[in-house]
């Protein structure tokens, strides 16, 4: 079954959607959208480094994404606003990454494949990395769910209940870095944030509790992956962007339903 490249691509897309859905909800609730973007941009540097030192792209991207996420978390609140720090870190990492790639003479690198993803080239071992990473993220978030939710609502409430909200923030940051690293192959650096935010935002108008919102987001993300790949095959369009297009159409559709229901009640 895994011999078919379409099957492998579909499984990869669905795996990323499952990890991105609950994480994306927190990204939306905590207004961290730019954080996802920035981590993804920094991952380009990781790709360049891993090609230079001939280690796996996943490892390189994960290392740089983690490093950036930790640095930003550490530096936040020390003189610069969060979005300024993210802007500095993300774009300098991207620029250094692009410059580093230009030094790699002799090796022909298809940078486009990393900017937009190359889901149709997903191998069996890629699939293992994607599902392994996705499972790790889902387990991490499910394990800390109630603490993450409390910390998202109010920091003092978290302290009063006996846990440190900064540690919860760190867990989210790490989960984000893992998701970015596994999703690079699927949707590429430029569209990772879309897989985080759009399904979660689309789920908002249908959900009545945080838990249902995460589940609906997972369903919408998985549907986008399956339908997007199908559309890419039929219409011969680029796969990653097609997935995001389907997600965006679902977002528009569910938002319209939500508004209509809202104005009627």
């Amino acid at each position: 079954m895994l011999d078919d490249f379409m099957t492998r691509a579909t499984l990869a897309g669905v795996g990323v959607a499952f990890a991105a859905a609950p994480l994306g909800c927190f990204v939306v609730w905590r207004r961290m959208a730019y954080f996802g973007d920035a981590t993804a941009h920094a991952a380009i540097l990781g790709i360049a480094l891993s090609l230079t030192f001939q280690i796996s792209v996943f490892t390189g991207a994960l290392a740089v994404a983690l490093l950036m996420a930790l640095t930003v978390t550490l530096l936040a609140g020390r003189g610069y606003a969060m979005d300024t720090l993210l802007g500095v870190m993300a774009h300098s990492a991207l620029a250094f990454g692009l410059v580093a790639v230009s030094f790699l003479s002799g090796v022909r690198i298809d940078l486009m494949a990393y900017l937009f993803g190359d889901i149709l080239a997903v191998s069996r071992s890629d699939l293992a990395v994607i599902w392994g990473g996705a499972a790790l993220v889902v387990v991490l978030i499910a394990w800390r769910w109630s603490q993450l939710l409390t910390a998202t609502l109010n920091e003092e409430l978290a302290y009063a209940s006996g846990f440190d909200p900064k540690r919860e923030q760190l867990i989210l940051t790490i989960a984000l870095a893992i998701t970015v690293a596994v999703a690079i192959k699927v949707v590429g650096v430029l569209l990772i944030a879309a897989m985080l935010i759009i399904p979660a935002a689309a789920a908002r108008s249908l959900a009545r509790s945080p838990e249902t919102m995460a589940l609906i987001a997972a369903a919408i993300g998985a549907t986008s992956a399956v339908a997007g790949l199908r559309a890419a095959y039929v219409f011969d369009t680029p796969a990653g962007p097609s997935i995001v297009c389907v997600a965006a159409i679902l977002f528009a559709f569910f938002s319209l339903i939500g508004w209509q229901r809202h104005s009627r009640s």
């Binding site: 939306v28 609730w29 905590r30 207004r31 109630s146 939710l149 409390t150 998202t152 609502l153 109010n154 920091e155 003092e156 409430l157 302290y159 009063a160 209940s161 006996g162 979660a200 935002a201 908002r204 959900a207 009545r208 509790s209 945080p210 249902t212 919102m213």
Partner: protein, 248 residues
């Protein structure tokens, strides 16, 4: 035995010392109100008590295994986060539906269980936060300016509710406020804070204490008292403008 004992507590943010050598204790079943102008360190004191702020000196001792109910000053729920009152009640503690209902009854807002938090009025929201804090049957409730955003009848009603809660559950209560006249009647003890403990005692004692009058004035003579305060109430930190705002 005290539920909470604060010993020689100092809190600084960088070079800025907001609390100096504060001592206080709370006994079971007691309602203690902390009053003070803006910037007097009230919230820092409460944050130190719940462990959100590390003391730069001194310590906060809690009775071992103390169950704390906390009502934050302001809780912002992002509009993108759907959450019902029932789910919110279970945020930090597992609770049966019956427990949720009982807590909402005690807080004076029955029948809200299925409502979205975003649909509540300001008064309902505060009471739901109170109910959530009550759900694990705390021995002490901490309220940080819990009536912010409520009008005067609303906050008076809220404080009456607090007295009812104490009568029904017997838990101790620490509240922070700058609405002195409203809070005073409900308190057993008042601590007047301005970077340090200016004075403390029963509401009547504190209201007539010169240190308290220096900070807040007496009724209509407040402005004059404040004027005098700036000149002859000599602390080594500045709070003239802040206390003026609090007195208004």
């Amino acid at each position: 035995m005290n539920l909470i004992t604060v010993e020689d507590l100092s809190v600084s943010y960088g070079a800025n010392t907001v609390l100096k050598h504060v001592n206080m204790g709370v006994e079971p079943g007691e309602i203690v109100t902390i009053v003070g102008p803006n910037g007097s360190g009230k919230t820092s004191l409460l944050r130190a008590i719940i462990g959100a702020t590390k003391p730069s000196a001194g310590q906060v001792k809690r009775k071992p295994g103390l169950k704390i109910g906390y009502v934050p000053q302001k809780l912002h729920i992002d509009p993108t986060l759907p959450i019902t009152v029932e789910r919110f009640m279970r945020l930090t503690h597992r609770a049966s539906k019956k427990d949720c209902k009982t807590a909402l009854d005690t807080a004076g807002v029955p029948d809200l269980l299925k409502r979205q938090m975003s649909q509540l009025s300001g008064g309902q929201f505060q009471r739901v936060m109170l109910a959530r804090a009550l759900i694990n049957r705390p021995e002490i409730l901490l309220l940080d300016e819990a009536t912010q955003g409520l009008d005067q009848p609303g906050s008076a009603a809220f404080y009456r509710q607090i007295e009812d809660v104490r009568r029904e559950t017997g838990c101790a209560i620490i509240m922070i406020s700058h609405e002195l006249h409203v809070v005073m009647s409900a308190s057993d003890r008042v601590i007047c804070l301005n970077g340090h403990v200016c004075c403390e005692g029963s509401p009547a004692v504190v209201a007539s204490a010169p240190e308290y009058r220096a900070l807040f004035g007496t009724g209509t003579g407040g402005a004059l008292a404040l004027y005098r305060h700036d000149h002859d109430h000599n602390h080594d930190h500045h709070h003239g403008k802040d206390s003026q705002e609090a007195a208004e």
